[in-house]
Amino acid sequence: MAYDKFNILKSTAVPLPIENVDTDQIIPARFLKATERKGFGDNLFRDWRYHPDDTPKEHFVLNNPIYSGKILVGGKNFGSGSSREHAAWAIYDYGFRCVVSSFFADIFRGNCLNIGVLPVQVSAEFLQKIFEAIEADPKAKLEISLPDQSITILATGEKEQFDINGYKKDNMLNGFDDIDYLLNLKEEIRAFEKQAPL
């Protein structure tokens, strides 16, 4: 599925300074019963966000009106666990376009890139600085430039570069997806199959 192009994003951010946020927290399994990609944002962080009777948990950051924005900033090892792409869908559907952490789980990172959410991996020190900046001012803005591969804390001007492979960068800048690319490789795939051992 094609998605929005990503270029430069300037936004306030929502802080979630917890490590090992797994995809079962991002979207619990009981909400995976849909056969269409719709409405997952409502159940993003469901059990951290709501009590069993569906009333909001006041202390959870998504229920705190001070924080908002298109960037989610999480602790180390974000997105571990299940391969469910629904986790990335829920993040996107809620309105985030970028997740920042000091470390991402592999499958989650790949899923994000495939659906147009940019995972930005920063150093542990820079992550700390971001959390501090948001704590000092919940309206503090971050600027993420995909062309430059940089993230800046606008209040202080502190900046760090991040990695992304050239192919995925192009895809995100243009809103392309991998399937388009693969469908164009038909001939190569057919040739390969002829000599495949299994």
């Binding site: 090992n20 399994a29 019963k33 056969t35 571990s80 792409e85 991998d178 693969l182 469908l183 495949a196």
Partner: protein, 469 residues
């Protein structure tokens, strides 16, 4: 140049390398289930294309299915809808579908090997992170997201950056009462849940050589819990004996040809790994987890570590113990439990039921324990009956349910209630994984059995008699 096992299998499947980008990898076998596939099939429909290789694709229903009364219509309308969608998609694209009640139905990672879909040297993917299980046969197997499911359906290919290589060696012998599950939980506790992120792991050394195929599957299954893309073990005589004659494995001349290839599948003597770690089998005890990720495990006789002794943030650690209502320094032994779950793609195979039965034999289920015993497939279920294990289990007060993922992820009715403790042979103890508010202690089938008859966390070695192996 010398190569690792992983390099040999990976490189032979690369169709194209994109500069400064991922590699295009050909996929030999694609396993599909009801939860992560509907949106992928919808994608094909929108593009107006068909599944390229239905004969390389296999579909089952497992995640979202009841474990009782499978012959009746599924009650939950959303689940029923998802199952119907898979049935229709499979029919439309000519994919074999083993739905509820089918003799080959079961958990996707149990039925793959059982039916000979899983073979050495293959690339295997599925929209489920525990696809790593199939690495036990010397295959490259890993979990993928739904966009990737769509890619594989459409083109039989996937785009992946090549992971780095790690080898985990365990030498020596395991002590009595120590199972493959304990080996895996031990490794994860040492490496942490992110310790192998970015790597593909090869397991090597005497401990894995001596392990049964079922045991190797348990270990490879849990590779993802330390962040690895997958894990694999070089195929050997045990592997070949296991797959020979199964429905989808090559036959006759094709078998001989495949064997010639499979015998080359091992790391060269001087192959270089990006990272290598070595443990001693004798250091491993029966394990149990006390926290909310699979890395938070300890030898069953040990106390819960102090926050400052563990890697990772103190705040995260305390939040985790608070969820479990456990405290630093406490002993796990003797803690009262409420539920026992034997099953999942980690420990839902016949060997796991044998292990469980040998401990409960001649005892009675504790009154305070609700036990869910869920075979990984109909074939496992049949073996449980044939081997007489069902009689042992029933005599001890247990009942057997029908196959599926069940309380491993609690998408169906098998949910552990909030605040209750479950000793579970599955693979994840995340908050709410087994139901909102549920508290999970991951352990082996032996530890689960000991808990089921004593009603508390118990060292299974205390219950092992001279006859038990």
């Amino acid at each position: 140049m010398s190569k690792t096992l992983f390099d040999k299998v990976w490189d032979s499947h690369v169709i194209k390398r994109i500069e400064n980008g991922p590699e295009v990898l050909f996929i030999d076998r694609h396993l599909v289930h009801e939860v992560t596939s509907p949106v992928a099939f919808l994608g094909l429909k929108n593009r107006g294309i068909k599944v390229l290789h239905p004969e390389r694709t296999f579909a089952t229903a497992d995640h979202n299915t009841p474990t009782r009364n499978q012959h009746l219509p599924v009650k939950d309308p959303l689940s029923a809808n998802q199952l119907k969608a898979l049935e229709q998609n499979a029919a439309e694209h000519g994919i074999p579908y083993w739905g509820l009640g089918h003799e080959k139905n079961g958990i996707v990672h149990v039925i793959g090997p059982e039916n000979g879909i899983t073979v050495p040297g293959a690339t295997i993917v599925c929209g489920d992170s525990h696809t790593s299980t199939h690495g036990a046969f010397g295959a490259i197997a890993f979990g993928i997201g739904t966009s990737e499911v769509e890619m594989v359906l459409a083109t039989q290919c996937i785009m992946q950056p090549k992971p780095k290589r790690m080898r985990i060696n365990i030498h020596g012998e395991l002590s009595r009462g120590v199972t493959p599950k304990d080996v895996a939980l031990y490794i994860i506790s040492r490496l942490t849940t992110s310790g192998a992120t970015g790597y593909f792991v090869e397991y090597a050394g005497e401990v894995f050589r001596n392990m049964s195929m079922e045991g190797r599957m348990t270990v490879c299954n849990l590779s993802i819990e330390m962040g690895a893309r997958g894990g694999m073990i070089a195929p050997d005589e045990k592997t070949f004996a296991y797959i020979k004659g199964r429905e989808f494995t090559p036959k006759g001349a094709a078998w001989d040809k495949a064997m010639a290839y499979w015998k080359t599948l091992k790391s060269d003597e001087d192959a270089i790994f990006d990272k290598e770690v070595t443990f001693n089998g004798a250091d491993i005890e029966p394990m149990i987890t006390y926290g909310t990720n699979p890395g938070m495990g300890i030898g069953i006789s040990h106390g819960i570590p102090q926050a400052n002794m563990v890697e990772g943030g103190v705040a995260t650690y305390k939040k985790s113990l608070e969820y479990m209502d456990f405290h630093e320094g406490e002993n796990m032994l003797g803690k009262k439990i409420d539920f026992v779950f034997l099953g999942s793609c980690t420990n839902g195979r016949i060997e796991d039921f044998r292990a469980f039965a040998q401990i409960v034999k001649g005892h009675k289920k504790a009154d305070n324990v609700t036990a869910w015993l869920v075979p990984g497939s109909h074939k496992v279920e049949a073996a449980i009956r044939e081997e007489g294990l069902l009689d042992i289990l029933e005599e001890a007060g247990f009942e057997l349910r029908e196959p599926g993922c069940s309380a491993c992820l609690a998408m169906n009715d098998d949910k552990i209630p909030a605040g209750k403790y479950a000793v579970s042979t599955s693979n994840r103890n995340f908050e709410g994984r087994q139901g909102p508010g549920a508290r999970t202690l991951l352990a082996s089938p032996l530890v689960a059995a000991a808990a089921a008859i004593t009603g508390k966390v118990t060292d299974p070695r205390e219950l092992m008699t001279m006859e038990t192996v």
